[in-house]
Symmetry: C2
Subunit: 617 residues, 2 copies
Amino acid sequence: MDTHSHSATQTRPRTHTLQFPELDRRIECREDETVFAAARRAGLRIVGACGGRGSCGSCVVRVTEGQVHREGESLHRKWLRACCLQPRSNLTVEVAPRSLAPIVRADVSTGGDAVTLDCDPAVRELTLQVPPATLQDLASDTDRVRRVLGEQQPALQPTAIDWAAAAELPGLLRAHDWRVSARFALRPGGPRLIGFARPGAPLLGLAVDLGTTNAAAFLIDLGQGRQGRRLASLGLENPQVAWGADLISRINHAIGQPATAEALRQAAVNAINSLAHDLARAVGAEVGDIAEVLVCGNTAMQHLLAGWPVAQLGRAPFVAAMNEPLDVPARELGVQVARGANLHLAPCVGGFVGGDHVSALLATEPLWAHPGTSLVMDIGTNTEISLVHQGRIWSASCPSGPALEGGHIGSGMRAAEGAIERVAIGAEGRLHLQVIGGGRPVGLCGSGVLDALAAFVGAGWVDARGRITGSGPAIGMVDGIKAITLAEETQDIPAVRFTQHDVRAVQLAKSAIRSGVVQLAAEAELDETQIERIVIAGAFGAYLSVKSGVAIGLFPDLPRARFTQVGNAAGLGVQRMLASRERRERAARLATECRYVELSLRSNFQKTFLHHIGFGH
Amino acid sequence: MDTHSHSATQTRPRTHTLQFPELDRRIECREDETVFAAARRAGLRIVGACGGRGSCGSCVVRVTEGQVHREGESLHRKWLRACCLQPRSNLTVEVAPRSLAPIVRADVSTGGDAVTLDCDPAVRELTLQVPPATLQDLASDTDRVRRVLGEQQPALQPTAIDWAAAAELPGLLRAHDWRVSARFALRPGGPRLIGFARPGAPLLGLAVDLGTTNAAAFLIDLGQGRQGRRLASLGLENPQVAWGADLISRINHAIGQPATAEALRQAAVNAINSLAHDLARAVGAEVGDIAEVLVCGNTAMQHLLAGWPVAQLGRAPFVAAMNEPLDVPARELGVQVARGANLHLAPCVGGFVGGDHVSALLATEPLWAHPGTSLVMDIGTNTEISLVHQGRIWSASCPSGPALEGGHIGSGMRAAEGAIERVAIGAEGRLHLQVIGGGRPVGLCGSGVLDALAAFVGAGWVDARGRITGSGPAIGMVDGIKAITLAEETQDIPAVRFTQHDVRAVQLAKSAIRSGVVQLAAEAELDETQIERIVIAGAFGAYLSVKSGVAIGLFPDLPRARFTQVGNAAGLGVQRMLASRERRERAARLATECRYVELSLRSNFQKTFLHHIGFGH
């Protein structure tokens, strides 16, 4: 009782209004929460690689009006981390350019891009004119539809009708003069009537590459004669990063805490819903026009999305609940597309080698399907690697972390305007920077991180053990830690630096990946030098400098001609699976052909890892 | 802004505690709501045929302690309608015996009842021992199950696995030493793995006859070798009566008001969940052991349960969204049984001739499947009639109202202890009553209502036009209306009376039903006298006196031998559909064989109705 009367006298925290002029948004923020937390809650696209724990530095803002909680410091117009600021008055907040999450890139304005997909989708559409209900014709609405189908398209006569489709039909028929667009899912047992839409509505599909750090989605036209045209694509940060940048953190959050597991699940669903909504709007369609969703992600991402337990996946022997491809009613997961839409989860291999890697293998099959030895690497927060040798496939997953994507790097950012993407050091120790868009540098993207470190190692600014030891005008102590400054702070832009922490993060990433390659080669009883082709996939993989990768030991030192860089192969693969039933079946077979190798259980993995952590040759 | 400050100064209604000693329950009730409303909200089983609008008199209680809102009257220990009482202090409330809803009747104590069902269910169970996950065996949990199935029972190798089943598997395997009970649904495309349960868990099915006024449910053992044994059954008032006793009232509530439609849907779901819960508990099982649910109801009930629009069903030409049988994931409707369980909605014929009538036809087929002419009547709040003539079936629905079930009758009650089930008038005008259980009369059940009216008509107490006109000690004015007293008020029990209103209610019911019979005969170009067999189904139909029915003109005056009374045929039919796939298919065919007749659109229906409303011969 005491407790009750006590809490009754407590005052609730005050709330202030935050203005974000560039985003044209105004949100509320309590005195006991951070600017970052309030921005996330309100759906503002502020980058936050560490999820607001103050360990990265990707959520940089400055306060141009108002007071924050840190007294005694002159914070006005100083660049600060949003996750370390609490308001004490209404604020006007400016977001640093590198901390703004990317926006929609709709290909629709250019009439679709060059990608053409084999189109034999699992969903079909047919517009029907049915006879109206009269006193002489009292048949049910679905019976009317069946009657017309029997006359016009017997092959689409459904073996089953979705109950939610029956809910949509009466209203649509009567609103559109008894014309309606019927939507079918082609299933082994026969067509299933999954829904109805206004006559003339497009038939769309959504392919989602649900990455650990970023989600990419592609809106595909699945209508007859449209040949799987890609209408638009969009990338978004995976909001699960709020529970940790790496998979193990998220799994540990979810284990034994159903509410947290559900919050993680909901975060993934929110990302897909947000992508679906923005993409549909960008092409003038509705989310209800999306009749199928294809999702690929690593095994843990797919488990979290489906709400499956992850305890057994997060502990040795790291066993999935389910690896085979799966059809789930999208609405049961809370995915807001057409009510009867199917969500197809891509097949997984095992451990963390999931549907995204199978998708990448599917997309790159023409590159590795030859008699020799190939390596396919999908570089990301988790890096999956497959070694193909004489028709056999060994697959493994390496926890490489987000450093190579510019995440968890002090001045890291996405490959967007202002990002340093190339770094070289001239003879006189001068830094040569190549910046996306050609303007002033605001941060380092993944390829810039790799180049920078290779250049520092080459110039001796970073030694063989990874310590910043060189000297020069750019090298100094910042906030008590050694750092190399690539661009000084200006009036509008915070300084771009590469710190000792950043070196360590890249060391861990590159050694994890390289050790995976070495171990897989050992499994196949091969030497790295016998690898005839290395396919580097992933958004970062498309832009990195192979030379820099070799220089820091990320890749084996093989002739440059053996390397092939492709873009987001997982994204391309998941689109192919969406557009073609044959490709979907191929992916299912491919997943069973891969032999999963659990690196962490190999006795010599630790030794291999330590061997590759430095920069000595 | 004014509004805000105004409402802030308003005081919220006070809340009082109501004690119900017989029910061993204590609930909260606001001063601005009635005792009936609070009881319904709390799930107390108080009968309320009119849904608390004060138009029936089925919710009789008396207050033994405390004050109510009706001042100036001496209400203490007086029998009153709970829907007309608001508390002004804490109350102790006694519920009249006839107003207590019936309780669980579990046949399990007697080892199941005599009904045996052809058992070839659509669900199967298999207990598996799978090899544990080890460092040497990293297969996913579902792959382990598939492997064992392939060795032991290849016929059950699933073509699909439910996503929710995959969620249950990891925990169950590790909790039960890698033994698990797998549950399958047999589908045309092959077996579907719908869930997992603890080893040894029973495999149960739930059959529900979702009537307009009452819902009856039957728990069936579908395990191998159990031969579809019925374990328990339970009846419950359909909580949708709160939106009206008749279908049209509920439909009008639902049209254009999505929140009300959803509340009606939820009420039906709550009833099914309550039945499932109480039945499972009665036999020591869990709701998660229920692997399939079969539901039959009239078309409107099935529409409301599925959340389908009813606007087109409530207006001419009265067209259903869907008549064919349908499989719905139970969880999508909110039905809390096994997560992967299917809910099968029985096929409907058209108009309001729904799955319950098809179930009744299925159960009574041996009685009507002969070359001659038969009539099958399922008497209820909506009465469905089928006329079978030389292999053709004409079907119609009559809005008969709840009077013949003892609903909307002042002293009406269920056929439970204390109900008057037989009434006769002796030579000297003395009433002879037969009471269920042999004790003192507390109300009239359906067969008693029918007998009473037949007796009153025979004795001249009710004239040919339906007016109470006779004289005698039992006839008098009560609350300004003519009434016949069957039992005087005692200290514990309110009086049992038959009022002029009750006579009118029965007149409307009997004429609606009889007119349906006449119209169907006309459709088949027959005379009523040509009907060789009349099958009377429905809980009420089992107990009514055919003689009384003929006497008041409910039935045509045919030789008694032509009448066959069966019990809840719809309930039996839905059990058969649950236990046997062959019976389910037969029901689907049967529904398409029935030719629906919309009585209200027949030009001479009104004339026929008026012709049969009186008691003249």
